[in-house]
Symmetry: C2
Subunit: 264 residues, 2 copies
């Protein structure tokens, strides 16, 4: 199953049903256009205040969509979904180390877990496309490239670490358009944090993303960087809390909310 | 010292200095026009996740401005201030009961307290006045009237309770203007939650506010209601957590942020 299969014809609940059966697409980018996708960070109750405070202090990478009650694996607000099964794939971290990447975390779920759902830049990709901004990674059937930067997030308790960004190559005459379009989506990371020289974010090479796939830029394209919902994973790797579950980068929870509901 | 003394000539830090010496105005409404004022909820660390989640789930009454680190009584972001001394007056609640109302909480402060600061409707009063909307409570030198409603907030853990609203009588031809002006201030409670019949919010009589002072409406005035930062106090009274400190209703932390910084 490739990135672009099915996006137009599946509803969010149908897509979640596909993922529940164990199908794992390369990415959910392009799936269920017009519906909000969400990053997941599930933490034990004793880390939940730090995690929630981290999100509140870092709204660009971590725009909160919903927070579940401790131990409740069900999402009730942005979707009717089960956090243990309804994402395509998950990562399990212990003391900051990736110990499993699996399509189902039922066996890892704990009664004290709190799920935090954050907005995702996939939400604004439809708006970018509608404004005529090409999406190179979608054209190339790849996951969006993501990079750990040298910019620190604001710490919260035991959680500290770097900002992660997603990058899209944009033709120079469309960089301003891309910035304006995405600024209208604060719940999906909003405007770019940077456009141009990757070195200013401490990124050594665009060819070696830390998450996702490298994309091929067209001649003249400017790399444009947005705060990314994978930031909590980099923070987990840096902060080494005992136990955390996240989505697999690029493989999101597809919610029942339309993109318009998140536009102020 | 009355409500309207000094507002034009004191800077926020000068106003906090006045409060630090123990002066207690009837209200900070009208003080330091153009600067954001903030509601305070300080809770022990073990209630902090519930309190922060409550705020995230109820952004209209509880628009977050800043959250302090556990045990740190100092505000660093929206102001350089000491939460123990720099508000005019405080309330201390034990098991939901008001046990003290004091101008200084140094003797009550604990090493595990987390301070949550929420936006306040006083922020948009300057904008209302600039738009020609009269502020009856300011004209009458009174604290704004606040009412406990029959509308429940979204609960979070051990915290559940009713929405509290502030009320301003508005001439009928200015109700729409008042709604439009305040909608531009989401970090200060935003647009009204109701205009008209108080009974629809379960308010029996406007003459008996639960907090603040009754105001005299002019003939024809429509009562307009906004979500209020005293909501956490009503929730504390309903939920009876062991220990909480709040600001005294109407007597806020005056921050160093200009109102414009909170307008999206």
């Amino acid at each position: 199953m490739t990135a672009l299969e099915q996006p137009a014809i599946l509803t969010p609940s149908q897509a979640r049903e596909v993922f529940r059966t164990g199908e794992v697409p390369e990415t959910t980018s392009g799936w269920c256009r017009g519906y909000v996708q969400a990053n997941l960070l599930a933490v034990p109750r004793d880390l939940a205040f730090d995690a929630l405070l981290f999100a509140v202090r870092n709204p660009r990478p971590c725009p909160l969509l919903e927070v579940t009650d401790p131990g409740d694996p069900l999402v009730h607000d942005v979707a009717t979904a089960d956090l243990r099964t309804d994402l395509p794939a998950y990562r399990v971290y212990e003391h900051g180390r990736l110990v499993a990447e699996v399509p189902d975390v039922t066996e890892y779920w704990r009664d004290d877990l709190v799920g935090l759902l954050f907005g995702c830049s996939f939400t604004f990709e439809a708006a970018l496309a509608a404004a005529g901004v090409p999406l190179r990674h979608v054209e190339q059937g790849r996951n969006v490239p993501m990079y750990v930067t040298s910019r620190p997030c604001r710490p919260a308790g035991r959680l500290a670490g770097p900002l992660v960004v997603s990058m899209r190559p944009v033709p120079p005459d469309l960089v301003r358009t891309a910035a304006e379009v995405t600024a209208r989506h604060p719940a999906a990371h909003g405007a770019p944090v940077h456009a141009g020289d990757p070195a200013e974010l401490g990124i050594a090479s665009l060819d070696r993303p830390d998450f996702g796939d490298a994309v091929t830029a067209e001649p003249g394209d400017v790399p444009v960087f947005w705060a990314c919902g994978v930031t909590p994973q980099a923070v987990v790797m840096a902060s080494e809390p005992p136990f955390v579950i996240t989505h697999s980068p690029g493989r999101m929870l597809i919610t029942d909310r339309s993109d318009e509901t998140l536009t102020p």
